[in-house]
Point group: D2
Chain length 424, copies 4
């Protein structure tokens, strides 16, 4: 069988194709030549499965879609404290204040042009050159996409030639000492970042890398810390759609970022990345069909950050084997607060009164701090009640075995239990 | 064993207790008498497990925390379109514009006072009386909490006596024809709503009801549509923390709402509800210790909307039984896009070439539209390839069996398969 | 001969009469009944000559036109420092911020409703009653108009019944402690002030009283200090026409204030007062024909604050009589810096080398400090050069005769000079 | 005698000299080298008398003080309608919006940098070069000052090298198509304008040229139309002092403009020009001692636009000679509305019942339209009453002698009257 997912994506394209509203961006001459009818969508799950429909391999320049990724790179390189010194993280209507600089002259967030220019300048440090800085960014974005990306020099040149607005921002930022490069160099460097060429499949994979906590889900490379992804997604969520942040969150509920070339990218943390391409823009500068696709994905496919469905994942108790004397709880997946709560609740309900209890971690992929502490504390309490407790942990997932009373959690082998191995 | 979760919550209280910063609200005389040292926290999972530490049963008035719930009630009663006619859903810094009315004189969102007064007026319709309207709200919030809540008439009276600011808003709203009641009645009705008395356990359960798609997780009552919960949480997410929306989303990542009496409530959709109480407020009017507790819950417990960990839940394939001839995929949980994608991916990888394939839905709790369509389409494709496909669906979870070619999905019994029942 | 001035004013009315644009204010029911075609204009010179055309004796309520006058009364009673504690003096677009309260919650100026309510509350002090306060204001405005004005209780009642917006402002001001009366009383008191009934002739005279430095030009009563008039006119100039302050200053150049009943009042300091009445208002709430009349008065009649024509007045040297030995300079009018400069320049040019020099002040109406000092210093310098100097000052206009070297200016009689009395 | 006016100016300097507050501007390196203690003031009457104290001949660059003059030049060249297409005339707090562009992207007024750059670009038209445009401006300002002014190329270069902020504005303006030159050229041209070198005497004379309706009061050259001066002064009045417009109008009441080099210029229409120099600036960028001098000039010298003193000037009736049969009214000065009103009022009071009445215009300097019409109408009415009326107008000041009934005003000679020549 061939998976029908591309077929569903194609159906969505069919729904939005009749909408010929909007205009191709014309303020950059090279963008104005885009074929307005090209239409594509791609989805990549956090497990690395990539699907697409329409023009999946049509290349276009990233433009503003590069902003959240380079912000993530800056956070990874310098940490939040240093980045926050030069750029804020609050929403800002572009329309309200054309510069969107706060009272301290910092751009209010990294997803407006002023902020993105500042973030670009951070990369590689003040002593870097335009060339080195751009190469660092290109190389990073290539790892996110899983292939070597290239700069579209023709678009870049066309954009630099008409970059009055960005030059204005760069001069203003330099007047306040927020950037050190000349305005020309700052804009050149930022424009090259914007001119990196991708297709919707690339963008979906890059987005899924954020959704997946920084691990590229196709290549498996660890590129960003989970914290960096979390911060980046938070900023996309509150600042990505400018003035209409509240309506977008209500109607679509997918942290998103658009580009003037016609791309639109969204991320559902822990779940998937989505990307669309259609060059006709609404007056706010967002792809008309792209917005429609996102609304359909959110409504029809139930993809919404505020969706109250419990997300797909692994129930933390794979199996319980027990007799009057012995019990083994076979756990699986990542053990965080919510998973540990489910395990402890089950243990409490089970009301086990036998002599020997073990938790099996063979299928556990990891713990966070609170998940580990909660399970150890549960075991300690059983031991206080006279039960002989232990963990079966052949892959050493628990890492730290010390309990709150200073003693260590006993480690056992499956063979130590009569009941072991009788199940799946 | 007794679950150690309250113990962890108590540890968090110990961490924040030394912080004696902030001041008890004094502009409402009756609130000024609150004991500043009272401190409590409660958590309720979307499965209805309630935990607390500290002053779990100390009663206080809901104040602004009532706002998102009454907004949800209005959405449920009248639908988004009607509600949006009188109140927007965009973030607004209170500091920027004291009235926070948009260009069309509608309050910009329902979580500022002007918006909340308007939403209160919607309940029961324009012809209702203050008493009936308040009773409708009290009754609704009681169902959310799972017990009969009462109005603290002493606080209410004290607040009405000093309600200059709300009277100002109500007169302004009436001058624009946004509300019809007299300013006095509108403020009285809203103040009574604010004076409903709860404890942190109540709030955690009410919040978990939103997290759980509108089903009260303890009583099991269906109170709100999932769509209403989604919209309410979206608005909390973008408008709940006023000016600092961006920073709160980055640092805490839990849609939240605070009250001037000292309560703070947060919701993680699909996961849990949290509530804290501590009356000392920072200059923005939020509980000082409450904010600290939320930061610790987010950081230490890994609770963050943008967390890229896959959420705890049920992996959609419980088990696969197959021989060269037959295969049964035992599914479980809610089948949405992400779950269906995982099932279809597995079917494709499995590359089944036998004669008979069945999907077993006995443990499936439900489908959304796209999840159902995707699985039916997968089966149709196997049938086209010559496989004898069927579903085993004793609880009739699939509801609609028509496939895209107009034929019906065949329904089978477990006994129809030789392999059935050999597993768990 | 009868003066043709009313004829010119009538011509202006004829020019604007065809303009039937705008709508009679309808938000106060009693105002909505006004006859939209009534049209009148009046001018009063700073010398007390009153002219009018059209409906010169049609009565209407002052509404916002009362604001600058009651502000002047507050300045007169309490001084600028005390008044500034509760109301600022900076321009504010109404549209920008509906309350127009500054960061310190003070209304930004006294000509917006919030500011006018605050100023009304100042009159007679916090312990006054509504009745006493209103009577103080009515009595003051009556002295300005030169006849007993009355409150139109019917309009007042109609306005109080629909005063949602002002009640909103009053509650807000009280919430910040800017006013002490209940919102109801503050609005009642302010509305009574607004309901004082006048005609355009009254308004022109009241305006001319400001133009004339506080002396009612018809009755001759000294009502306000010149400083108070200056401040009041300054505030009218920068805050009187809301958003369009710059355009009004450029196009019309007459400090002005309009009222929602259809009145419009303007003042040219030192020159005259103007008032018009026509009830149809533009969307900004200003009388359509009233604005037109002011534009014609400014353009056709050369009345503009920035007009560079030297204003009509008295040249300070009425006559010079001199021989080789003696000289008398006969001065006239008010001797301020500009007048004294002209006198001193003339003395210097004259290059008087005789033995005796006198300045005659018989026709001088007064001195300001610098004018007096300048002339005394000029005389002192002639004395140092050996000239026998003196002043002829039968009405004791110079008041202080001490020169900068501590000696006194000698006083002479006309008869002391041979040349005296030969001239006019 | 030597006029004591410089002595009074020197006294004012002595009063402000102890104030060493403020800092010399340091963002332009060349300005930072200014001697902070230099202090000067100059006054020029509308009659062309120039006085100064302190550093009257110390040269400094005009900076922003050039803005109102070049705006006047643009108005003179192109008219208000054309100029308003690219720059507005409303006040704007710099602090509020760093670009101060309105909704249509036009700078809100010509006295902020963005507006001044746009106005500079207007001069000589779009096809001009930087050199020609700057020469046109330098030449115009030289005629205003009455001597050949020069550009301080050293300051200009220093300023161009650090013109980040102005480059930012120029790029933004160009991005909106408001200017056509490259940002570099626009800023160079504007900076050269700012670098024109003057002393306080020059500025006082230039300001007095505005005060005098466009006629340079020392050279007598007609440089600007009176309308242009009026508009320029109106804009200075409402936009010259940024955020503090209301306070400045109340406290000082002199339309003013400051420059970052330390100059401050003020104009009282019809009266005089003032200029000060002291390089230490307050945080708003205005000269600390300069502001103090203006406050003293306004308070001590009674110079205030809203001053209700009737300005010095010529009373329109120089003399009346009359017998029972004949009367001659000898008029003088400029006959505008206010002057004509005084003449007509006197004629009416006089109640002349003789046979022959003449108005003598020998000392009249001119008429405006309404003044001329009013006197002719007065004469016509006397004629209707049977009086033999005429004008004595040897210098043909009345220009148009046609009355409202189509007949001509009779012209007489002094010798036609028996009484003529008996007076002064």
């Amino acid at each position: 069988m061939k998976t029908p997912i591309p077929y569903y994506l194609a159906q969505i394209l069919d729904k939005v194709r009749p909408n010929e509203g909007g205009e191709v961006a014309d303020y950059i001459p090279e963008l104005a030549t885009a074929d307005p009818d090209i239409l594509g969508v791609a989805v990549c799950s956090a497990t690395g499965h990539v699907y697409h429909a329409g023009a999946g391999e049509h290349r276009f320049t990233m433009q503003s879609i590069s902003k959240p990724f380079v912000y993530a790179l800056a956070l990874q390189e310098f940490g939040l404290a240093a980045v926050r010194e030069v750029v804020g993280m609050e929403p800002s209507g572009e329309a309200f204040n054309e510069l969107s600089l706060g009272g301290d002259h910092r751009p209010v967030n990294p997803l407006i042009n002023a902020g993105a220019i500042v973030v670009n300048q951070l990369i590689d440090g003040v002593d870097s050159t335009v060339e080195d800085r751009v190469e660092t960014i290109r190389s990073f974005l290539s790892r996110m996409a899983g292939r070597e990306l290239e700069i579209d020099e023709q678009v870049c040149q066309s954009e630099v030639d008409t970059a009055e607005r960005n030059l204005s921002l760069a001069h203003m930022l330099r007047s306040y000492g927020i950037i050190q490069d000349t305005a020309h160099d700052a804009v050149l460097s930022y424009t090259k970042q914007c001119s990196i060429s991708v297709d919707v499949r690339d963008l979906a994979v890059m987005s899924a890398t954020l959704a997946n906590g920084g691990q590229q889900p196709v290549t498996g490379e660890m590129i960003l810390d989970a914290d960096v992804c979390r911060l980046t997604l938070a900023v996309m969520s509150s600042c990505g759609m400018y003035d209409g942040a509240g309506r977008w969150m209500a109607e679509v509920g997918i942290p998103a970022k658009s580009g003037v070339s016609g791309g639109l990218l969204g991320t559902l943390p822990g779940q998937l990345g989505v990307a669309t391409f259609s060059p006709r823009l609404n007056p706010e500068g967002n792809s008309v069909r792209g917005e429609e696709i996102f609304k359909l994905l959110s409504a029809d496919m139930g993809l919404h950050l505020m969706s109250t469905e419990r997300r797909f994942g692994v129930y933390p108790i794979r199996e319980i084997e027990q007799t009057a004397e012995e019990a083994i709880f076979y756990l699986q997946g990542h053990i965080n607060f919510t998973a540990a709560e489910a395990v402890l609740y089950e243990l409490q309900q089970d009301n086990f009164r036998g002599a020997r209890l073990a938790l099996d971690f063979e299928q556990v992929t990891g713990f966070n701090t609170i998940g580990r502490r909660m399970l150890k504390e549960g075991l300690r309490r059983f031991r206080e009640a006279g039960v002989d407790v232990a963990v079966i942990d052949p892959r050493a997932r628990m890492t730290n075995l010390e309990m709150s009373d200073g003693t260590m959690v006993p480690v056992a082998e499956p063979d130590d239990y009569q009941i072991a191995g009788e199940g799946t």
